[in-house]
């Protein structure tokens, strides 16, 4: 998948403003970004269901504008919102969907059985979808997206709204697909999900790419190795801030905490103690993708 200057406009609103992307075969690639950053619009263009407004886009070496159906035949799509037919059974959902790819009835029948095992849904095979739990529906949606053995799988917030068990099961399944050589493109709000699954990712903000790299690269490029968190009684942290400002590369003031971004959290903590700073509690931790994300896209709500 290759994009150059890709853009999408809805009337006056520019959802995607010139995005360059390269996703190599077999890679797991992530889109991070706050709501409205343009992730889903980009995904829909890659899925060949939304014509681009500008720029170049090649998916599986073809142009979505010209070869939409041929590309879609080799894609798997997990949409943000489930699009299952609640009045059909689990099995029927898989079979009907598979038929849209022009696959034979016999092939679709066999593949549906395999996929129900893969998604741990075999016991519910002939139950209607309606009463299934959110996690089961999500697993079914993922199973369905695999019915045509896609070379490229697009997952738009695959685990939003799921309980931890369901998320881990899904991650396990996605990891297996990746090992089998399927290319994955994932959008997510969960940093742990991105760290778990993605080889490389971009942080999108306001329709543009704010940063790009592997999770480790992003942390080392945009953040320090460690973070020292000093917790204070609300509003007491402001007075302390000048005393510790020079102990870290960057200090962030939150309502009840100071975050000191530094290579060595323990020595920063010691130095703070020596200057007579007495926090309610303190914590030294590794920097995470979440720190990078918040640094790049800000802490304010966008919507």
């Amino acid at each position: 998948m290759l994009a150059r200057g890709l853009s999408k406009r809805f009337g006056d609103f520019e959802a995607v403003r010139g995005v360059d992307l390269d996703v190599r075969p077999g890679e797991a690639f992530g889109f991070l970004g706050p709501n409205g950053a343009g992730k889903s619009s980009t995904m829909r263009m890659i899925a060949c269901v939304s014509p681009r407004t500008g720029g170049d886009l090649a998916v599986l070496g073809m142009d979505p504008g010209r070869d939409g159906p041929r590309i879609r035949a080799r894609l798997g799509v997990v949409p943000q919102q489930d699009t299952l037919d609640n009045e059909l059974t689990v099995r029927q959902n898989l079979q009907v969907y598979g038929r849209y790819f022009g696959l034979s009835k016999a092939h679709v029948r066999a593949r549906a059985t395999e996929l129900m095992d893969f998604a741990q849904l075999a016991e519910r095979a002939d139950d209607p979808v309606e009463p299934l739990s959110g996690g089961m529906k999500r697993r079914l949606t993922i199973a369905r997206s695999l019915i045509n053995d896609p070379e490229l799988l697009l997952l738009d917030e695959p685990t939003t709204g799921l309980d931890p068990q369901a998320r881990h099961l899904l991650w396990d399944r996605l990891f297996r697909l990746k090992q089998q050589g399927t290319t994955l493109i994932i959008t997510t709000h969960y940093m742990d999900e991105a760290e778990q699954l993605c080889d490389r990712l971009v942080v999108m903000d306001g329709g543009r790419i704010a940063a790009e790299g592997s999770p480790g690269e992003l942390i080392s490029r945009h953040c320090t190795r460690e973070v020292l968190e000093l917790r204070f009684a609300p509003d007491a942290q402001g007075e302390v801030e000048p005393k510790v400002a020079d102990l870290a590369d960057r200090v962030e003031v939150l309502p009840d905490r100071l975050l000191l971004y530094t290579a060595d959290g323990e020595s920063a903590l010691k130095a703070a103690h020596n200057r007579g700073v007495v926090p309610v509690s303190s914590l030294v931790r590794r920097s995470t993708l979440e720190d990078v994300f918040l640094h790049l896209t800000g802490r304010t709500l966008v919507d």
Binding site: S50, R72, A73, N86, F101, H107
Partner: protein, 268 residues
Amino acid sequence: MGSPTSSVLVPGPVRSTMLVVEGLWTWYKRNWRSSVISTVLEPALFLVALGVGFGSQVEAGPATLGLPYVQYLAPALLAATLMQTAMFESTYPVLSGFKWQRVYWAMISTPVGAAQVLSGQLAWLALRLLVSAVAFVAVAAALGALTSPMILLAILFAVLTGMAVCAPVMAYAATLESEGQQFNVLFRFIMMPMMMFSGTFFPVEQLPALVRPLIWVSPLWHGTELCRGVTIGSLDPLAALGHIAYLCALLALGAHLARRAFVRRLEV
């Protein structure tokens, strides 16, 4: 990668349309029971109550074209029934495909495109209407309300009438973002008057001349003229061509608008 799909031919527009029909059929096989009530039982009750019951009080005369009332009513009721089924099937179920079940969104993530979602949905409805018409004719024949084999031609006219209604209604349904409250307006202020005043139950000549032009707009009036005319053998060929042309034009216009609405909504 040597996936089994790379060797399979990607379905073209016609095949895609057929696959959409197949998908809708799979749904229908599981859920047909509820639709039997509205498409077979209700019209049958109508025919019994109005045709046989109320009709026993109507003398055969010039107004009924010399026929017993039930025979006068049956072919027209065929058209009216299909019009109603077409209305219902092209409103909530279509909105659901976009909004509630969202199955249309699933379809377009496969090689099927928005235009084929529409053509498949239309083709499926034509089949549904055809089956409803055959069922109605069977019931009406059993009640002695139909005697002419020409009713078979009336079936086609009735399906055409239904399609001329469902294409524009589908175009409208595809533009709605709401929960479909507008459909009630459609049912009450368009479908009901159309049902009452399109010559189904009594000749439109009984109505004031002032409202006559409104009746000519009604696809059901054209359908009624065709179905009744062909069944009892009184159809004037030239008038018939006019009715058919009007219904075809409505169907073509509706299908064009619906196609545009489907593409705009699904492939934005």
